[in-house]
């Protein structure tokens, strides 16, 4: 599929959106990890190996 030629402004805007989306996804991953620990409690680390 042919990609349209992007102007410098469009490329800059796309990069800005990508960075924001990446940060949002990283924050969500950390947030859900932390909440899982809080909801289940510190006992999650006490499992037998």
């Amino acid at each position: 599929m042919n990609q349209p030629d992007l102007t410098d402004k469009q490329k800059k805007a796309r990069r800005s959106r990508n960075v924001a989306l990446g940060i949002a996804l990283a924050v969500l991953a950390v947030m859900f990890y932390v909440v899982t620990i809080i909801k289940i409690g510190p006992g999650i680390f006490d499992r037998a190996m």
Partner: protein, 315 residues
């Protein structure tokens, strides 16, 4: 129902295939200034509520409420793009300015709505999630699609959407709705008409050009000024109700009474302003003070609640 009769999607700018909008434009779709008020009042509701919530869950609750409020702002901008382009105050928003397409905004708003409600429900509780969903629906559908273009009482009824956040914040902690949180709702609900009609007075040409039936355009300046004084008085009375009901202290009550008296004074200055005044200075001052009033009232409630929580002394 005249929900879509006057909405002219064709009047909005043509969709842009390649986005020029950056992250800042998407953030602007969330109406950050409205969102800051929502965050603040929801936080006050959350902190005033009896009981405990884990700080991380409290943070996520406020974040979800903020994102939900932002989502309703994006849906509002999607639907109102045809009139936003006609008003100086809104013409530079991302859709009328052609930086983000209407379709993208709709998808963005819908996604954030579902995501914020689901997150609040799964991580906090489903009562607060249900209230957030209702708030988004009320703002995006009842206010934006229906009331805004059909009645001069648009912001009176629609103001309920902006008044819900403290109830949601309270419900995040208690999983219930109580009379105290309804009083917090009532303060914002009664404050909204005086706040918005002050703005509508000095922006009436903008609203008239867009065909929005704001009270000054439909009923005239005199009626609007009467209504501003009426709602300022009701707001000032409601502002001291937390002390009368005993969930805020005497110091708060005195502070709220003074703030309320000044609010009424500003409303009277608007009322005394000659009809047809070109500069509308008293209306502009009233609008600015209304923001100070709400901020100070909720700050005082929050400080009082925190002092009581940690010292047991009612202030």
């Amino acid at each position: 129902m005249a929900m879509t009769d006057e909405h002219d999607a064709l009047a909005a700018p043509a969709s842009v295939d390649v986005l020029e909008g950056d992250a800042g434009d998407f953030f602007a779709l969330l109406k950050p200034r409205v969102m800051s008020l929502v965050v603040f009042t929801a936080l006050v509701g959350l902190l005033m509520a009896p009981g405990e919530i884990h700080p991380v869950l409290g943070f996520i609750a406020i974040l979800s409420i903020a994102v939900g409020a932002g989502a309703s702002g994006a849906l509002n901008m999607w639907y109102d793009a045809d009139i936003d382009i006609l008003m100086g105050r809104t013409a530079k928003r991302p859709i009328p300015a052609g930086r983000i397409s209407a379709d993208t905004t709709l998808a963005f708003g819908m996604f954030l709505s579902v995501f914020s409600v689901a997150t609040l429900g799964l991580l906090v509780n489903w009562l607060s999630a249900g209230l957030l969903a209702f708030t988004i629906f009320f703002y995006a559908v009842v206010y934006t699609m229906w009331l805004k273009r059909s009645t001069p009482q648009n912001i009176v009824i629609g103001g309920a959407a902006g008044a819900f956040p403290p109830i949601i914040g309270w419900a995040c902690v208690t999983n219930s709705i109580s009379i105290e949180s309804i009083v917090l709702f009532a303060i914002i609900f009664l404050w909204t008409p005086a706040h918005f009609w002050a703005l509508a007075l000095f922006k009436s040409e903008d609203y008239g050009r867009a065909g929005i039936p704001m009270l000054p355009n439909v009923a005239g300046e005199r009626t609007t000024k009467h209504q501003i004084v009426l709602y300022a008085v009701l707001t000032a009375i409601c502002g001291v109700v937390p002390t009368i009901m005993g969930f805020a202290g005497t110091m708060y009550g005195v502070f709220a009474a003074i703030l309320g008296a000044v609010f009424i004074w500003y409303a009277v200055q608007v009322w005394r302003m000659p009809d047809g005044d070109a500069k509308m200075v008293p209306a502009k001052k009233m609008f600015a003070y209304s923001l100070v009033y709400l901020f100070c009232i909720f700050t005082a409630l929050m400080v009082g609640a925190l002092v009581t929580k940690f010292t047991g002394i009612a202030v």
